[in-house]
Structures are given as structure tokens and as C-alpha cells.
Amino acid sequence: MVEAIQSPHPADRVRVQVEAFDIGAEHARIAALDQGIGAITSFTGLMRDHNSGDAVNAMTLEHYPGMTESALVEIVTLARSRWALQAVTVVHRVGRLLPGDAIVLVLAASAHRGEAFSACEFIMDYLKTQAPFWKKEETPAGNRWVEARSSDDDAAARWGSAGTFARDARHDGLSEGAD
């Protein structure tokens, strides 16, 4: 049976949604939380109008309801175990998006910038390789699923094995025995 989704820290916000998000409002929410916060870093992922040398007119993001939210909470929990963070926000959109649309937002708040920068990058690197989202692009030549990139695995791997979550999830395929 499927376990209940792990709750995020009370100061955190983890959402998967169709609607656009308001970066200013998300930033203001965190800034108002705690006057011990000295740094908020942010990452916004946008949809490009090209990929792998081809024009891309639109894309559709699919996810695994339930598991995706759990994976995002788990990634934020891992980040919290490594850095002293006052608050984290992760918002990821699903559905059909157009070039220039924002796809994902990560905010990380800490007393000092170093931890906030590191946590933001760590969360994005893990999100790219661990959270169950899939992109399908609409190109002039037809629709195609985006292939996972080994460079994303490399980016996540440089943080080391941050727990069983990462170690279990990173191998490709499930061929029995040596692989």
C-alpha cells in the first residue's frame, strides 16, 4: 500500500501545479517568515524555444501524482540535513507550456548566502534526476519525449551519496545481477 506523503517542514512549500507561479509572492512569503534569514537564493527554470538543435513550439510535462510530491519533499529534507535552512520553496508546473513559460521555482533561505546557494543548486540537481516528471516536446518534425541526460546524473553525483534515496534511484535499468 502507498504510504502517506511525507509532510514538508512547516516553513516549506512544495507544490506541483498547472498554474503559473508568482516569484515575487513566493519570495515575499519566505522573507516575512523569520528575521534571522540573511539570504534567499532563487532558481527559475524556463522553457526554451529550442532543444538539441531543433525548434520547440511547446512542451507537456507529465508527472506521477503522489510520488512526485513525495520525491520533492524528500529532496528538500535531504537539503535540510546538509545545510541550515530557514525555509525552502519548490514549485513545479505540469501540463502544456509554451516557450518563455516558467517551469520550476526553487527558493532557499538561510542566515548566510553560502548555504542558500548550495541548497538551491543541490535541490535542482536532485530534482532533475530523482523527481518523476517527464517532458514531451512539440517540434516542427513532430512530438518527442525528452531523453534523460547523463550530464544531469553527473551534476547530481558531485554532491556524493546523500542517502539511500539517491543511491537507490540513480541506477538505470533493473537488469538482474551485474550491470
Binding site: 500500500m1 510535462l61 517551469i103 523527481a131 534523460a148 533493473l174
Partner: protein, 83 residues
Amino acid sequence: MPTLLYFARLRETFGVEHEALPLPSPATVASLLDALRARGGAWAAELAPGRAFRVAVNQRIASADTPIAATDEVAIFPPVTGG
């Protein structure tokens, strides 16, 4: 019997979004994959050893020896591409 879910490219290739599949007990991810490969065609090709795909049992990433119970939810999907 376990519920199977397929996502993204594999859902389209198999032409199935979800199904309930009876499995001889005790079942594992490995025995499930063997049963699916025995269907041949796209099933055998896409789930062949060495192909890149992932299996989650009850929404947790699983490995070949992860057990599967009758009430479990098992998902098979390609490597993820979000962000």
C-alpha cells in the same frame, strides 16, 4: 493483485496506462519484469536488461529484489526529465 502503472514514453509504447496483473507469490520486481517480458514485442524490447527504465513500488524507487505484495502499486517509467 498488484496494480501496475506506466508513465510517459513507456505508457505510449505499451498502449496501457494501468492494469491489474496476477503474479505468482512470492513476487519481486524481477519476477514481475520476467512476466512482462514474456509478452514479447515492445514489452520484451523496452524492459530488456540494460535498457534504461525505473520501477517504483508504492511510490518508492525499487530494485530487482524488492518484493511485491497483492495490494502494492508498481510503476514503470523512463528516466525522469523534469526541471
